[in-house]
């Protein structure tokens, strides 16, 4: 206890110096932890978007559809899969899509676009598409060939509600067919890239346009009751329907598996770099403290303070110094993440670039308690490393020489 008391009081002998180090630790940790929280928030939101707006938890395709994107690579035995999903208690909702790629022409511009032929009710249950509508109605008010386009597509093609567009595609026989669609609604999601590439129409309209049967679907998107079940259920259905390709969202969304796996590492790398820089500041401060107190440490050794206790005293001083700064920095981060996690951080013009890359323009930082705890352990570890050299320096002081130092 006496060593702890001396160590604690020693910290406050040079208040300015200690406060500078404590502030550096607090600020460094605040910056590092908040950067981690910001990144985690981006990734969490990306995951949420990928699951809720794009891929659901897993999807079923013909094993060659994603590779070749051919109209006739539809799901064989669609009804059997649908029946199995309907009977599965863990399945929250599912929807089937008929997907075609075609030329999309407005009076202003012509370009390539992917049409997702959907059933509006089941699509809304899986992806909440109806909730992303910013103008118009969700497949209501236009009876023949309604189309739902994104705000980005509307701007690109100069379209507004009720405007007509012409879609040209190949039918089952390889013949070019065209059909006109009328804009029924405009949607917007967090993913600008997705919005720019996709439009929604009714599956029945696509099937009629291309002379396809009414069970001609290319994709079944399945939403489960729990996020954690995605991979195991994809595997389960892959085994049950081996002629189909069944993949979880992590493998469907390009780069997501890598992004998710790397996100934890990324957070720790940021904090580790900051702690590494702080380490030198702490080593410097503690070395100065040891050098200034050479005579005092010599005296302590002379009167009987063991080498172990001298070592412990410097280690404890360093730990205390770090442990005062770290909670301040982490608490400040916690408050900031709580606040910005509620209101979000609008990235403004930069956000549009992020949106084009598939990330939300408004980031809601988040950090789980486990990460705070892990960062705390990293600080502790860093403090121990930082203390090592000054503590050894103190232990190696020769008592009789140290006492004579002026």
């Amino acid at each position: 206890m006496v060593i702890l008391k001396i160590a604690w009081r020693n910290i406050w002998r040079n208040k300015v110096r200690s406060l500078v180090v404590i502030t550096a630790i607090a600020l460094g940790l605040w910056a590092g932890t908040f950067a981690s929280g910001f990144y985690e928030g981006m990734i969490d939101q990306k995951i949420e978007d990928v699951i809720n707006n794009e891929y659901a938890h897993f999807q079923v395709h013909d094993s060659l559809f994603r590779e070749e994107l051919l109209l006739m690579k539809n799901i064989k035995g669609h009804q059997a899969i649908v029946d199995a999903l309907a009977a599965d208690d863990s399945v929250k909702a599912f929807t089937s899509r008929t997907i075609i790629s075609g030329m999309f022409a407005s009076s202003r511009k012509t370009g390539a676009l992917r049409l997702l032929g959907i059933d509006p009710t089941s699509e809304a249950a899986v992806t909440g598409l109806d909730q992303r509508l910013i103008d118009g109605a969700y497949f209501e008010g236009i009876k023949r060939n309604p189309i739902l386009i994104s705000k980005k597509t509307a701007e690109t093609y100069g379209l507004d509600l009720r405007n007509k567009v012409v879609v040209t595609a190949q039918d089952a026989e390889g013949e070019i067919v065209a059909a006109s669609f009328r804009v029924v609604g405009i949607f917007s999601s967090n993913n600008g890239m997705f919005d720019g590439m996709n439009a929604y129409v009714l599956a029945t309209d696509v099937q009629r346009m291309l002379s396809l049967s009414d069970d001609h679907y290319h994709e079944i998107a399945v939403m489960l009751k729990e996020n954690g079940l995605a991979e195991s259920y994809a595997e389960k259905y892959a085994k049950r329907f081996p002629e189909q390709e069944v993949l979880p969202w992590l493998d469907l969304a390009m780069g997501m598996r890598y992004m998710v796996e790397a996100s934890g590492t990324f957070s720790f790398v940021i904090v580790a770099i900051i702690l590494f820089a702080l380490l030198f500041s702490i080593v410097n401060t503690m070395l100065m403290a040891v050098m200034e107190r050479t005579r005092e440490i010599g005296m302590l050794k002379a009167v009987g303070l063991s080498r172990g206790r001298v070592f412990a005293m410097i280690m404890i001083e360093t730990l205390l110094l770090s442990m005062v700064g770290a909670p301040i920095g982490m608490f400040a981060t916690y408050l900031m993440i709580q606040r910005t996690g509620e209101v979000g951080i609008d990235l403004g013009e930069i956000g549009e670039t992020y949106s084009d890359l598939g990330f939300s323009a408004v980031v809601y930082p988040s950090l789980d308690l486990q990460t705070y705890f892990s960062i705390g352990i990293m600080v502790l570890f860093m403090a121990l490393i930082a203390a090592l050299y000054p503590a050894l320096k103190a232990v190696r002081l020769n008592a009789s020489e140290a006492i004579r130092k002026i």
Binding site: V2, I6, R9, R13, A302, G304, I403
Partner: protein
């Protein structure tokens, strides 16, 4: 009853260099309990080196030191630290108190290292600080005390562990005459009334005048050994 507390045999310390310096040269010395001994001599005569070797702070180049029958040269550093803690009290020229502790805590410090019971600690600290005239300054930190007062706390600290003897290296070098006289009174009283053995290194005539034995060192050798 007289008892040999310190015994050196052919004790030597040579500092190697371009020209080797024989700081202490084949010193044979015996100090008994209850002595009040001053080791005197000009600067560089080897006083501090001799005291450091007696206190186990420096190792001799040759010869040996026995304290209460324990041969110090055979001990490793940890054993020496432990031995100093239990057997030797130190008073240094520059007081060397722990600045962040109060007078009471500084005095108590060595007893804490010795894991002495709190009740005994409290009683002894109070008694010692009263004996050195600092009963009213127990809760003052060193920076709040004068040089003389700090050195009196150092004496109390040295005595707290009930050592076999106290080594004091130039204890009055930084004190004014009043503080010196005061400190010497205290140490002489502790020597006479409580039988505490003091060994000083000094070139302060006021200390030499009060000593009951004066050993004079010149060039690392004992030139004279006078008992009064």
């Amino acid at each position: 009853m007289k008892q040999l507390v310190i015994e050196t045999k052919q004790l030597s310390k040579t500092y190697e260099g371009v020209v080797p310096v024989h700081a202490v040269n084949e010193v044979d010395l015996e100090i008994e309990n209850n002595e009040f001994t001053a080791i005197v001599g000009p600067s560089g005569s080897g006083k501090t080196t001799l005291l450091n070797m007696i206190g186990g702070l420096d190792r001799p180049t040759s010869g040996g030191v026995k304290v209460n029958g324990h041969e110090l040269s055979g001990m490793n550093e940890n054993e020496l630290i432990d031995f100093r803690l239990k057997h030797i009290g130190f008073v240094f020229q520059s007081y060397n108190l722990i600045p962040v502790l109060t007078a009471k805590e500084n005095t108590e410090f060595i007893m804490l290292l010795q894991k002495i019971d709190k009740k005994i600690r409290d009683e002894r600290v109070e008694k010692l600080l009263h004996e050195v005239g600092l009963g009213e300054k127990m809760n003052s930190r060193p920076a709040q005390l004068s040089g003389g007062q700090q050195q009196r706390v150092a004496v109390a600290r040295a005595l707290a562990s009930k050592p076999d003897f106290v080594l004091a290296d130039e204890p009055t070098a930084n004190l004014d005459s009043h503080s010196t006289a005061n400190l010497l009174d205290i140490m002489a009283r502790l020597n006479q009334e409580e039988g505490i053995t003091f060994v000083f290194s000094t070139h302060d005539q006021r200390v030499i005048d009060r000593a009951r034995r004066v050993i004079t060192l010149v060039d690392g050798k004992i030139e004279s050994d006078e008992r009064r």
